[in-house]
């Protein structure tokens, strides 16, 4: 059976051109080295050296085998490093999901990109899904981490780390009287409006937080249409079906016919950005979580 020892010896003899000298370099004696070379030649079924009076010289078969042996030895020598990097999560596969509204937050896109550049060995797979789908895929192991806007119910035991609290903005149709108030509107100012909201689905989310904040502001909001995804609420606002409250970063969407105005006096209403991960996730996932949490701490 061929062993790496044979290949190491072969390379040494090939480089020295002398069995005796190679043996000295390897820290062994010449006879055992001769025997190992013979064993290797028997194993590959062809002589690898021409014996000359002044040493040995590779045959053509020897040339070919030495070349292959070098790459094999290099790969074997790289195994500890490979294992170390895999164990430290610096390589592997990492599936990250996010809700449509998180996709517009500059923090999310910037940090995902930064992680990908810092660890090129990690193959990033990105997925935009609804909150419910994200939670399901995390539990099912199809995702390693997900950016959410609101904590799902106590569903599958996921780690939820709050990252940032983002101010909210009022989304108003272009012609709305309050749309000119670029310095901001108070939540109370929207008391008489019809609200278009992101559909409630998995657990208490932004929906409930908005209702609660309105109550705190002293009115009960009239809810009209509900939209399945955050960006579609803005389309409904543009269509004049009401006003909405969205995270301020949704400004990036730049929907025609919709003006986003900062929400002053929000009565505690803010859009949280959360990271959900599985407990004892993959090493890459742990490393990702660490990087994201650190970046979030820097951000505030």
């Amino acid at each position: 059976m061929i062993e790496l020892r044979h290949l190491r010896y072969l390379v040494a003899v090939a480089e020295e051109g002398h069995v005796t000298r190679a043996a000295a370099r390897l820290g062994i004696q010449q006879p055992p080295l001769t025997r190992q070379i013979h064993d290797l030649e028997a194993a590959v079924g062809a002589p690898l050296f021409d014996r000359t009076p002044r040493g040995v010289r590779l045959t053509e078969a020897g040339e070919a085998v030495v070349e292959a042996a070098r790459t094999i030895l290099d790969q074997a020598a790289a195994l500890p490093d490979l294992a170390g990097r895999a164990a430290r999560g610096e390589r592997g596969r990492l599936a990250v999901g996010y809700t449509s509204s998180a996709a517009f937050h500059p923090f999310v896109v910037r940090e995902i990109r930064a992680f990908g550049q810092a660890f090129p060995g990690v193959r990033l797979v990105l997925e935009e899904e609804s909150t419910a789908e994200l939670v399901r895929d995390l539990a099912g192991g199809r995702l390693d981490a997900a950016f959410l806007r609101a904590p799902p119910g106590e569903a599958a035991d996921l780690r939820i780390d709050p990252l940032l609290e983002e101010p909210m903005a009022a989304a108003l149709p272009a012609g709305h009287p309050l749309a000119a108030r670029t310095e901001g509107v108070a939540l109370e100012d929207l008391a008489g409006e019809t609200f278009v909201l992101y559909r409630r689905l998995a657990g208490p989310g932004l929906y409930d937080a908005i209702i609660a904040a309105c109550h705190a502001a002293g009115f009960s909001p009239m809810v009209g249409q509900e939209a399945p995804r955050m960006p579609s609420t803005l389309s409904l606002v543009a269509a004049g079906l009401g006003v909405s409250l969205t995270p301020a970063s949704m400004r990036r969407l730049n929907v025609e016919g919709v003006t986003l105005v900062p929400l002053t006096r929000a009565h505690g209403l803010a859009a949280p950005l959360l990271l959900a991960t599985r407990p004892q996730g993959s090493a890459a996932a742990e490393r990702f979580r660490g990087a994201i949490l650190a970046a979030a701490r820097l951000e505030t």
Copy 2:
């Protein structure tokens, strides 16, 4: 020190998911296998398996290492085949030279190409040189084989194998009275002409053969210009400096202003095609020689 044994055992355990079952498959007992796996984990510096009550499962580091181990083992397993093919001359490097006139012989180009396709593992290096350079490079080991037109002197001990005897043709300037004789001209018809000939250099070549044939035809040729390379003689013919005698395959050159007419009654004059190789050349060279000689035998 990591050995292939460790990798073989690792792959077996990874595939079985059981140390005990893998040991049975490997034909050894479980405790030594456990120890080898531990040794490997120590060598790579990371645990490769998670031990569960029902067996073992690869860690992420284990996944990465197993993948690398598989390719290493495959490469090692391919060594005997690799050595065998290298020894049989089915891979390696083969430098083939040819004189400019041989380059126009369809046999040469066809057989070189056929050899390259039959043995893709052999890297072919082609070189067009003068006969003297070819002989020198063969002797110096820079060439493995060369197609020549005439045997060099008893120079370096090269093996010379005659391949084909090609008829000669008379190269006449376009306006020459004999140029219209498409059925051929006899050597005697050229008795009064001035001859443009390929320069004599290394040993007796085509030059001497032509002189001898003319004498056999009953005249002594008047030699005007001499050219260093076969194709340039045709240029001199086109320039009206005389007529010439060339191998019939030079028709492929299609030089403007030159007509090649078959040489009837050549008095034994013919253009030989020879293969020169070094005795005890590389395995690839031997294989090449064998293929060329076989092809030449089929040809006649």
